[in-house]
Amino acid sequence: MRYLIFRICIYLGLAFLLGGLFHTQVIQGQYYMELGDKNRMRLIPVEAPRGRVFDRNGNLLATNRPAYDIVATPEDVTPDVIKTLSAMLTLSNEEIKKRLRSPREYPFAPAVISEDISQELAFKIEEMRPDLAGVEIRVSGLRFYPYGETAAHIIGFIGKINKQEYLDHEEKGRYGFNSMIGRAGLEKLYDEELRGWRGGRQIEVNAQGKLVRVLSEKNPDPGKDLIVTVDLEFQKRIMELLKDHHASVAVLDIKTSELIAMASTPSFDPNVFVAPGLESKRLSFIKDKEAPMLDRGISSSYPPGSIFKLVTALAALETGKITPGTHFFCSGQFRLKPGTSPRKCWYAQGHGNLNLYEAIERSCNVYFYNLGKLLTADEIAHYARELGLGKEMEIETTNISPGLVPDSAWKKSHFKEKWYQGETLSFAIGQSYLLTSPLQILRLVATIASGGRSIEPRLLRDPSIPPDTSRVAITKAHIEIVKKGMLQVVQSDYGTGQLARLDFGTMAAKTGTAQAPPLNSHAWMTGFFPYEDPEIAFVVFVEHGGSGGIAAAGIVKGTFEIWKEMYGPKVA
């Protein structure tokens, strides 16, 4: 009985299918046959407008401008049309044919003949369209960066999707053969958010390829806008200040973890990567020996030099090896053991007898060699990592350099050699294998300024990101000792950073002059302002700039003068 019911169900199911097929093929057959007749149905994808990028004050950093493109449906194009087009566009017949043959996403999808043509030419072609079968003018949105190189490293740029990228993306609806895709910076990292969803129309056309009616339509869903934390005006003026250097400056609001400025020079014009027909300019940027594409603040790491003495001091305090009153005598040189070759202090005459505050203030190498003798490399490395060196950053950009904090295990795995105590001495003053990016130094100094709060610099205004609340595992009292040392760097007449001293408030900082033989040293300066209840942290890095106390301090002073003009009244 049950088998009979089952059997009847199966036969009824087959009959139902036959009914459905009869309806589709016989009753509606004529309609579908006409629709399916190969020239009658077309699919026209419509790209979604890409989200814009604003600075903190609402200035547009990345937007879309209208551009006219010539497109043609190859199936409708006749040889005469190619000839006419060739004359109008000064392109060879072969070139046009080649473009018509380029791979397409759908049958009867239009191929792009020429992008971003002048308005006059577009109108001229529009007038001639009765004679240009299959040719159309399409208005598209072309990415445009109104401020060019000012924030180029932060925003990044987009480029045309390549075959592999197209295949890699599963959600085919979002990416077409001619779609643009983020290639660097925020454009790359937030490509998903910025790009939106493509729409499209399925249309019925007549034998001449003209629209008869729209079968179905879906409007594109525009991408989301982004707001960056940077103040464009501030950034622009810092870029002017850095014009002749290879340098990086970053200024951070300690209370909110927002970067107010993040400048790197030399820079590049991202528009060159977006506008069609500028391949040679793109190549010149990519191949330029000055490396304008490189964000010196984030994507590259350098020895931090004496800046690192802050970490060594904290390591010695935390491990209980010294107190702020511990004195060492600087004769201008230091020997690890009698008979070994001497290491020099930068001040050849010697600093004499110093306590920790004075050692930071004058950046005495001998004092820190003594700390290096008391500490192991692994202890220093531990505190360096606790303060975020050698660690990835969460900042919203691409190509983030992780830097390098060496220790004995690292040396063993890389050189198959044990760590020598002499190397600990170099490590203690920020040389040896140690590498940090300027933004990591900024994160470190912001953490010190806030008395030990872990601070992750942010580039994007995003209320969904929780504020930084966790703390580093370092005693607050020890951090305060180091802060006092940093105050003296600027305020004391013996301080290495006194050139950056301001007339409208007290700043605390540390300079660094990192050896980079055979070229000139890298100049560093990092600090915070004001000393009491710090509001902003900064880092200045000048590649092969020479002395930190001169080259970097000058830029710090310049930056703060701009800052005072723009934000001054609030503090003064």
Partner: protein, 360 residues
């Protein structure tokens, strides 16, 4: 002697099997002859392997397979786990496993081994004893492969386990009250399941309800395949003369959408022919069921009918827009080694049931 041997062969079943295979080769050729890949030659290879296996199974006897069914079931589950770990991603889903030069799709075999295990399990228990415990056991048997396949993600294939279970429990003798209970609980569970679907799966279902929703993605395929089938009309455009499917309007036209090619080139007449072939296939399988007294054999054949029919029904319904688009192949006809081998084994089992039928 020869007479006895001839009696053991179910010629009607073999005839429909070979006819469906012939149709398959023809339309795999038609759908891909303009492409460099020789899909029809590759399929011919699988057909020869499949036929060899199918004719060898009666020599071993289906009882051997039922006795090993739990082992085979565990092996196929392990293969599904392998897919999860080391699977091959195609079109965004991990459904394939590379074994040397061959890529297999373990979900095809899992369906078959689950039918065998279920037949063995249900056949060893009577429906009037401990009924609810048996039902829970059967549910457990299908849920493991179902969840693993759903995770690949291959929603379509995983849902095939439902008609399998429903039909097998039904013919086993489950009480009607359980069937009613199941319908009610599915109706309430559906909205909860919805939350766990992937975005594209939701899209497909929504697009099914309204094809105009997404003319570029799933809706595009839905409209195009319907146009292709409809354009075939009464008599079709003639073999190799289809334009919709040939011109790549319809994606996957040698696998999931192969019916578009047949529908377009042979029209409603061809559709009737294909439906007739499936009809004869099911008819001869039901004949086999009525001629055996072995409950397990009956269950096995019923499970095979349920899954093959569900696939035919879903596949053809989706090409004419009566169901959402899922990655379900047309049994015997779609291109694919694993799918063909699985139906060959099922076919071999049916031949064996026929051979060992009780003579009355």
């Amino acid at each position: 002697m020869a007479q006895k041997w001839l009696k053991d062969i179910n010629f009607l079943l073999i005839f429909t099997f070979l006819s469906l295979t012939a149709v398959s080769i023809l339309f795999i050729y038609s759908s891909s002859y303009e492409e460099p890949a020789n899909y029809e030659m590759r399929q011919l290879f699988w057909v020869s392997v499949g036929l060899m296996i199918a004719f060898m199974i009666p020599l071993l006897g289906y009882r051997t397979f039922l006795n090993m069914s739990y082992l085979l079931y565990v092996i196929s589950i392990l293969l599904l786990v392998c897919v999860e770990i080391a699977g091959h991603t195609r079109y965004g889903a991990q459904r394939w496993l590379s074994v040397g030069p061959v890529i297999i799709q373990p979900s095809e075999f899992a369906k078959l081994t689950t039918i065998m295990a279920l037949s063995n399990f249900l056949g060893s228990n009577y429906s009037w004893e401990r009924e609810h415990k048996v039902i829970i056991g059967a549910l457990g048997l299908i849920l493991v492969p179902m969840v693993l396949i759903m995770k690949q993600p291959d929603l379509g294939s995983s849902l095939l386990f439902i008609p399998m279970l429903v039909v097998m429990l039904f013919v086993w003798g489950i009480r009607y009250r359980y069937i009613i209970l199941a319908f009610v609980s599915v109706a309430t569970a559906a909205p909860i399941l919805w939350i766990f679907l992937k975005e594209y799966q939701k899209n497909r279902i929504l697009v099914f309800l309204n094809p105009k929703l997404d003319p570029l993605g799933a809706g595009y395929t839905a409209i195009q395949s319907k146009i292709a089938v409809g354009a075939g009309g009464m008599w079709g455009k003639g073999f190799l003369h289809g334009t919709q499917s040939q011109l790549n309007f319809v994606p996957e036209h040698h696998t999931d959408f192969i019916f578009c090619v047949l529908g377009e080139e042979w029209g409603f007449a061809g559709s009737c022919l294909l439906m007739a072939m499936y009809g004869i296939l099911f008819h001869s399988l039901f004949q086999i069921i009525s001629h055996t007294t072995d409950v397990k054999a009956k269950l096995l054949a019923s499970g095979i009918i349920a899954v093959v029919f569900a696939q035919v029904f879903i596949n053809i319904s989706m090409t004419i827009g009566l169901m959402p688009i899922t990655g379900i192949t047309l049994p015997f006809v779609s291109y694919g080694g694993s799918s063909y081998l699985a139906v060959s084994i099922a076919f071999g089992l049916a031949l064996s049931i026929h051979k060992e039928r009780s003579i009355f």
